[in-house]
Symmetry: C2
Subunit: 451 residues, 2 copies
C-alpha cells in the first residue's frame, strides 16, 4: 500500500469531504482529537506508539491520478470534490504525545488542527495506526512487568494480522520493553536485535535428534540455543549434554536450550537439573509456547528457572484486548469549541493540553486543561510535531521511545503495575476552565433540544 | 514492505537454512503442510482465505542486495549461506484448498513441496497470511449467518492492525459474506462495493443538525443515508422527516438513516415508527456500533427493524478469537514420511489429500488420505496451484471465492451454523493407509526413545 494514500480511508470521510466542498467550508480550520474513551480491562495505562507512521502518512498525503480515476468511476463525486481531492496535501498542525509515553482514558494522544477536508480524510488511517500500535506497546509493557527483570522477545510475526501488523508489532513491542524480535525485516528496518534458534522441522530433517544438535551447533559454534522438545523434552536435554561434551574440544559452546511445549514449570526445573548435572550450569533456558503476562507471572511465582521468554501470539495480537477503542473527534471549528453528546458518549471540547503532575506515588496525577492554560511544576505532554505540514524537528528514534517508556513506567504509581485486576484508576483531573466550558456547551445543547 | 521479501521471516528460519546449507541438504526436497490443529471455540468450521497473497509472495520470493547486506551485517551467516540466500527463489510445488472453501481442524490448507531451504524460509509469511485472512473470512461467515438474509458491510479499517490488515479484512470479509466495505483503497484494489455515509463530525460542523442533513442530502440527492444519533436519536429521526418533506420537491431522496449508539433495539423500533408516520416507509435503517454475530442475533430475535448492519471492530480483529493457531509442519522429506511427537501435539505424516463426502446432512464428512489415494464419489479439495514455481492456471477472482464460500456454507450440515455454542463437530476421518502409516511411525519413535 502506498505511503500517504489519501484513499486509505473510510468512504464516508470522502463523502463528507465532498459535502464540505459543496458547502464552501472545506478550507475552514478545525481541531480533532484522537483519544481512547475507556482503557480495555484490565489495562491500567496505555503506552503510546504509532506516531512515526502517522507523520510519514501526513507528509506524503495525496490522492494520485489512479486513485482519483477510481473515485471518479464510483459516480458519487461531483467535479468540485474531485478537484479538491486531486490537490489533497496535509498543510496543518499536529500536536502529539511522544511514543513511549504513558497515557490514560480521555487524554488527547494526537491533536490535529487543519482544514476540515484534510482533518476529515486522515481520520481512518490515524486511528488505524495509533490504535493498533498503542495496543501492542501497552501489551508489551505488561509482559515486561511480568518478566520482572528477565528478558522477553517478540515472536509474533506469524500470528499477526498481515505484514504491516508484524512489522509494527516488533517495533511496538521493542518500545514497550521487548529485548528484540524474531522478524528479520523488522530488525533491518528498525535496527532491532534479532532472536531465534531452530524449529522442530530442523530437528526432524535429521534421523537422530543428536545429529540435528551437532549440525546446528557446528554451524553456530559461538553460542547456540537448541530446541529440545521435538520428541521428548528431558531426553532432549540429556542429548544436549552428550553433544556438548563431544563438541567442547572443537570450541563449540552451547548457550542454552529452548522449551516450546508441555508443562513448562515442571520441565524447566527438570531440564535445569539435567543441564547442571551435565556441567552446563551456564546454559540458559529459553521458554516459549502460548505465553503472556499472566502465564509468565505464574511460571516465575512457581520458581521456574527460565532465563528468557519468547512471546508471540498473545503479544502481537494483544489477544486479551485485541483492539483499542480509539476515536477521533471534532473539538473545535471556526465557530468555537464543540462537543458531541450521544447517549453514551461525551467528548471534551476545545484544543487541550495534558499535564503530568508527579508529586509522589499516591498523588501522582494528570490534569487536562485548555491548550492555553499552564500548570506550574507540571510537565506538558502534547508537543507540536508538525506545523504547516512540516516537521518541527528531527523524529525521535525508536530507542528514544523505548527509553521514554521505561522511564514513564518507573515513575508510575506502583499500584498501576498490577496485572491481574484493576486497581484504583490513575487520577485524570480537568481544569476549572475546561469543566466550565463543558458545562456551558452541554447546557446550550440541552436548551436547543428542548426548544 | 516489499512483496516477496525473503527476510519477512523469523530469524530462526534463516539460521536453520544456514544449517541446511552447511550440511549439504538445502536442496533436498521436503513437504510441509499448513493446517490448524484446533478450531477456536466456538468456531465449527473455517473459511479459507489468504492464498492469493501467498502466491504473490512465492512468485516474487527473493532476498535483494540490501536485505543480503543486512544479513551479512548480523555476523551470523557464513559465505555459503549468504550465497544461497542471494539466489533464493521459489521453484517448488504448491497444493492448496481454494479460497472460500470450508475446512476443519488438521486438514492441510496449503501443502508445499520444495527444496528444504525454500520451504523453510517461507514458513513465517505463509502462516501470517493464511492464518489472519482465514480468521477474518471465518468470522465474516458467522456474521452472515447471524444476519439471516439481511446485509452487512465491513467497517473495520480503523480498528484493524495496520494497513495490510485492513485491506485483507475487507477482502476476507467479502469472501465470507459481506456486501461491501467502507475502505476505499480496498474497493479500488479488489473491486469491492463501497459503503459509507457521514460521521458525527460532519453533523457537528453545522450549528443546526437540520442544516447538516440538508447539506448532505443536496450533495448526494440520489439517495442519502443520514446519521441521526449525534445529539438525540429520536429527535434526529424527526428532523430527517422534516428535511425530507422540505427537499422532496427538489428531487432529493432520503434512502435511510444510520444509528450508531444507544439501545439499538429500542431506538430502531421508535425510529421506524417516526419514519413511517412521516411518510418515509421506504427509508432503510442501517445500524452500527460494536456489532458482531451475537449482538445481531439478539437484535433480530428482538424484532429490531434493521435492514443492514455495519460491522467493524469485532469483524476485522475477530475479537472473540483474534488469532488462529495455524502451523506449518514437515510431513515428508527425502527419507520418507515424518511425524512430530511433542508432548501435546501430533502431526499427520506424508503428503495428503482431503476428500469431501457430502452424502446428506448427518453423514456429510471429510476424509484425509495419503496423496495418492482416491475416494469414489468424493471431491478432492487440495489442488495444485503452483508447479516448478509457476502458476498452473489463472488465479480465481475474489468473486469466485465469495461464491465458493456461499455454496460451501449452504452445503454444510445445518448444526454447524449454530453460532453460540459448539455442536457435535464435523466428522473428519482418516483413511486406513494414513492411520497405518501414523501408527508405524509412532511405534518407530517410541522404540528409538526406549532404546
Amino acid at each position: 500500500m502506498r505511503v500517504g494514500s489519501g484513499i486509505f480511508t473510510d468512504f464516508y470521510e470522502l463523502t463528507m469531504a465532498a459535502g464540505y466542498v459543496r458547502e464552501g467550508i472545506a478550507d475552514d480550520v478545525a481541531t480533532f482529537d484522537l483519544f481512547v474513551r475507556r482503557l480495555p480491562d484490565p489495562r491500567q495505562y496505555l503506552v503510546v506508539a504509532g506516531l512515526a507512521d502517522v507523520l510519514d502518512h501526513l507528509e506524503n498525503l495525496s490522492i494520485n491520478p489512479d486513485e482519483l480515476a477510481f473515485l471518479e468511476s464510483t459516480g458519487r463525486f461531483a467535479d468540485d470534490a474531485l478537484d479538491a481531492f486531486s490537490q489533497l496535501h496535509f498543510t496543518g498542525e499536529v500536536r502529539a504525545i511522544a511514543e513511549g509515553e504513558v497515557v490514560f482514558a480521555n487524554e488527547p494522544i494526537v491533536s490535529i488542527t487543519a482544514s476540515l477536508i484534510e482533518a476529515q480524510i486522515i481520520e481512518t488511517r490515524l486511528i488505524n495506526l495509533v490504535g493498533s500500535q498503542t495496543m501492542v506497546a501497552s501489551k508489551a509493557a505488561r509482559v515486561a512487568t511480568a518478566c520482572a527483570g528477565r528478558s522477553f522477545v517478540d515472536f509474533s510475526a506469524r500470528r499477526d494480522h498481515g505484514g504491516d501488523a508484524a512489522m509494527q508489532a516488533a517495533r511496538s513491542a521493542w518500545i514497550g520493553g521487548a529485548a528484540g524480535t524474531s522478524l528479520v525485516s523488522a530488525g533491518q528496518r528498525y535496527g532491532l536485535p534479532l532472536s531465534g534458534t531452530m524449529a522442530h522441522a530442523y530437528v526432524m530433517s535429521f534421523d537422530d535428534e543428536r545429529d540435528a544438535f551437532r549440525a546446528f551447533a557446528r554451524t553456530f559454534p559461538d553460542g547456540t540455543t537448541l530446541l529440545i522438545d521435538t520428541y521428548d523434552t528431558e531426553e532432549g536435554a540429556r542429548r544436549v549434554v552428550e553433544v556438548a561434551a563431544e563438541l567442547a574440544g572443537a570450541g563449540v559452546r552451547i548457550a542454552g536450550v529452548r522449551l516450546d511445549s508441555g508443562d513448562l514449570l515442571r520441565l524447566s526445573k527438570s531440564v535445569r537439573q539435567i543441564l547442571d548435572h551435565g556441567g552446563l550450569d551456564d546454559a540458559a533456558i529459553f521458554a516459549s509456547g502460548d505465553l503472556d503476562e499472566y502465564r509468565i507471572t505464574e511460571l516465575l511465582a512457581g520458581g521456574a528457572p527460565i532465563d528468557s521468554f519468547g512471546v508471540g501470539t498473545q503479544l502481537g495480537t494483544s489477544a486479551d484486548a485485541p483492539n483499542l477503542g480509539a476515536v477521533y473527534k471534532l473539538v473545535a471549528d471556526e465557530s468555537g469549541p464543540k462537543i458531541k453528546l450521544a447517549e453514551d458518549k461525551v467528548t471534551l471540547p476545545a484544543a487541550k493540553q495534558v499535564w503530568r503532575v508527579p508529586v509522589g506515588d499516591t498523588s501522582h496525577h494528570d490534569v487536562i486543561t485548555l491548550a492555553d492554560e499552564t500548570i506550574d511544576g507540571a510537565r506538558p505532554l502534547l508537543e507540536r510535531v508538525l506545523a504547516d505540514g512540516e516537521r518541527t524537528g528531527p523524529a525521535p528514534t525508536v530507542d528514544d521511545a523505548k527509553a521514554r517508556c521505561a522511564a514513564a513506567l518507573a515513575d508510575l504509581p506502583s499500584r498501576l503495575l498490577t496485572l491481574q485486576q484493576r486497581e484504583r484508576p490513575y487520577e485524570v483531573r480537568r481544569s476549572g476552565a475546561l469543566e466550565s466550558l463543558l458545562a456551558e456547551l452541554t447546557a446550550r445543547h440541552r436548551d436547543a433540544k428542548s426548544s
